[in-house]
């Protein structure tokens, strides 16, 4: 009976690439992806809507003030790409890797700002910009761990 169930789960997971067979893990991965989709789409859309503000802040940010427009639009485009990659189960694995590297990049930016321009606001987009640098660092670290967790969940399933 058990063998039949496992076989059925494996078959199901083969039909839906990118989704682990275990239903608990599947839900967890789905939840992590949805959280990231919300975060990236929200911040990307917010930055797009107020792109002038984002560029304006970057105009005063050490290093980035040399290329404020390029930096602002590059981050927005990468966030949209990450959203799309996470949205489709087939590309979710690469989406999680992109999210992880993006979050690590944002953490580096936060540390850079904490050292060189702590009185400047964040160009993060939306209500996230109202966080203090320390709160933002914690927030991003949590998301780094979520991405790592998601990657681990996918890696545990050989057939994915």
């Amino acid at each position: 009976m058990n063998n039949i169930t496992i076989t059925a789960e494996l078959k199901q997971s083969k039909n839906k690439p990118g989704i682990p067979a275990n239903s608990g893990n599947k839900r967890l991965l789905e939840a992590i992806s949805v959280l990231y989709i919300f975060l990236f789409f929200y911040t990307a859309l917010s930055k797009t809507a107020f792109i002038g503000y984002t560029i304006d802040v970057l105009n005063f940010t050490p290093f980035f003030k040399e290329i404020p427009k390029t930096t602002a639009w590059s981050v927005v485009v990468i966030e949209y790409i990450a959203t799309l990659l996470l949205f489709f189960p087939n590309t979710r694995r690469i989406g999680l890797y992109v999210s992880l590297f993006l979050m690590i990049g944002f953490i580096a930016y936060i540390i850079w700002m904490m050292i060189y321009a702590p009185n400047l606001p964040c160009t993060c987009g939306g209500v996230i910009a109202s966080m203090t640098w320390a709160q933002h660092l914690i927030f991003n670290t949590v998301f780094v761990f979520l991405a790592l967790w998601g990657i681990l969940l996918m890696r545990r399933n050989k057939h994915v």
Binding site: K16, L45, A49, D56
Partner: protein
């Protein structure tokens, strides 16, 4: 389709939240502008908002020109954010064309410096 349900919901909610967000205000309360007009420092040039470039929000004198605060030539001014506008296409903040900058002639010189009147909160001049 069920596989896309939560992702699609997340996107819809995110869009709704952004749509209900009020427009962003200026990053800073005040902005610093430096004089980058003709080196003759004529009255008409000093009082022209187009000759002033946003250099820093922090009054940082490490960005040229360095102002020694001697009232001979215009150097740097501080104005409220309301007197500035941001051009997202060019990517710079500039003074509104209606900004009032008042210049005074330096004693014994043909050059003009800025007085902290009109829309100028603070004026730093140079020799």
């Amino acid at each position: 389709m069920k596989r896309y349900l939560f992702g699609a919901l997340a996107i819809i909610i995110a869009a709704a939240v952004v749509a209900n967000t009020s427009p962003k205000k200026a990053v800073f309360v005040d902005y610093f502008f430096a004089y980058y007009g003709p080196p003759t420092f004529a009255e008409v040039d000093v009082e022209n908002p187009a000759n002033w470039v946003n250099v820093s929000s922090l009054g940082n004198d490490t960005i040229p020109p360095v102002c020694n605060n001697i009232n001979v030539k215009a150097c740097r001014i501080k104005v409220p954010a309301s007197k500035t506008e941001f051009d997202p296409i060019i990517g710079i903040r500039r003074l509104k064309i209606t900004t009032v900058i008042n210049a005074a002639q330096a004693p014994g010189s043909f050059t003009y410096y800025v007085t902290p009147t009109g829309d100028v909160i603070q004026a730093l001049n140079k020799y």
